[in-house]
Amino acid sequence: MQLTHLNSRGEARMVDVADKQETRREAVASGRIVMQPETLAQLSEGSLPKGDVLATARIAGIQAAKRTHELIPLCHSLALSKVAIEFDVDPAESCVHVTASCRLNGRTGVEMEALTAVSVACLTLYDMCKAVDKTMRIDAVQLDSKRGGQRGEYQREPTPEVAAPIVTGQGAAGEVSLGGRCQSPCVLVKFLAELREQLGENERVVTFDELQSRDIAGLKAALAAQDERFQLLRDQRTLCAINQVMANDEALITNDDEVAFFPPVTGG
């Protein structure tokens, strides 16, 4: 694929579009600005010091689309037939999603106009809210789709939702992972749920050489000797299972056991 904005010597050039067929061109771009929940609430209520934030950002985005050729050096100046800016206030992710769509009948694509509109609308949102929130972040500015022109349609594949972290273990349901963990006798120790987050660790292998006594109390002591963090395991509320069966401090452990520590359960 050749970059059309470079000539054969690699120098910048504006593409000559005089001989290109006029077609209907459309492009949709999106982005978002992430902010503090309090800022988002004020924005929705219209109680920010600079007034109606979304209306101002919408006008800014439309103006910017029309002036893209002044900002991006090799862009043509286009007579856009339509620029639309949509805002979606998202309390769940504490952000405003911005979508811009541009259209014209012409010889060049309008994706730069749509991307510029999104960028400037986001910048305007930042400017309108910055008095109350300095932590705002603009991200995920991207082309979602474009139609028309020689290269045809483009549609961004939806990014798959990140799978929720369900378990620490990689084993399939109904299986206890056993065997072949290390050369000398050892146990696999797993940390689940909030305990995993507090410790910052999924699992670790403890060899029998490190154990003073081959029971859960001995395992807790060995872990605490490795790292201060594991004092957490001595919390009375921390539960323990050996090979997926509940166990107490006196329960004995044998080679290749799977030992899990976890907080009180909260299902149902």
Partner: protein, 150 residues
């Protein structure tokens, strides 16, 4: 007694387990079911969703054991327990328990018992998502007291 246990990330059908519990039998006098849903208020007033973590293997084994315990305490024909894991939104069903028995009292009590033990023994952990961040749900004293009744 028939026991059916399911732990899955996908939403489940409300009809699940009912037909299977009574199919081909005429000795069942009643089916009691309980459905647990995600509330939009819990430890904070604005829960936007929750993520349920579990311990595969131990989860299924624990639910099986609870169902067997119910079968030993009451005369039951069928027990079905289905529990979701992963991400859920307010209004989604988390858990459903169906108990089929010759008599309603036994079905009601067994269903109550299964939920009490499930909440205090099965290795599930809820992380709630709110407008002001995420937090792990704490165990409740009332749940422990409820489970101690049996």
């Amino acid at each position: 007694m028939d026991i059916t246990i399911r732990v899955q990330a996908e939403p489940f059908d409300m009809a699940f387990g009912y037909e299977a519990s009574i199919a081909g039998r005429t000795d069942i006098g009643g089916v009691v079911s309980f459905t647990g849903l995600v509330r939009d208020f819990n430890e904070t007033p604005d829960v936007t969703g929750l993520t349920l973590e579990h311990y595969p293997g131990m989860t299924e084994a624990t639910l099986q054991r609870i169902a067997e315990q119910a079968g030993q305490r009451w005369a039951l024909n069928a027990v079905t327990i289905i529990h979701r894991v992963g991400h859920m939104r307010p209004g989604d069903a988390i858990v459903r328990v169906l108990v089929a028995s010759a008599h309603r009292r036994e079905a009601f009590e067994a269903c109550d018992f299964i939920m009490d033990w499930l909440k205090t023994q099965a290795p599930f952990w809820k992380k709630e998502h709110g407008r002001h961040g995420d937090y792990w749900v704490k165990e409740r004293r009332s749940d422990i007291e409820d489970a101690a009744r049996w």
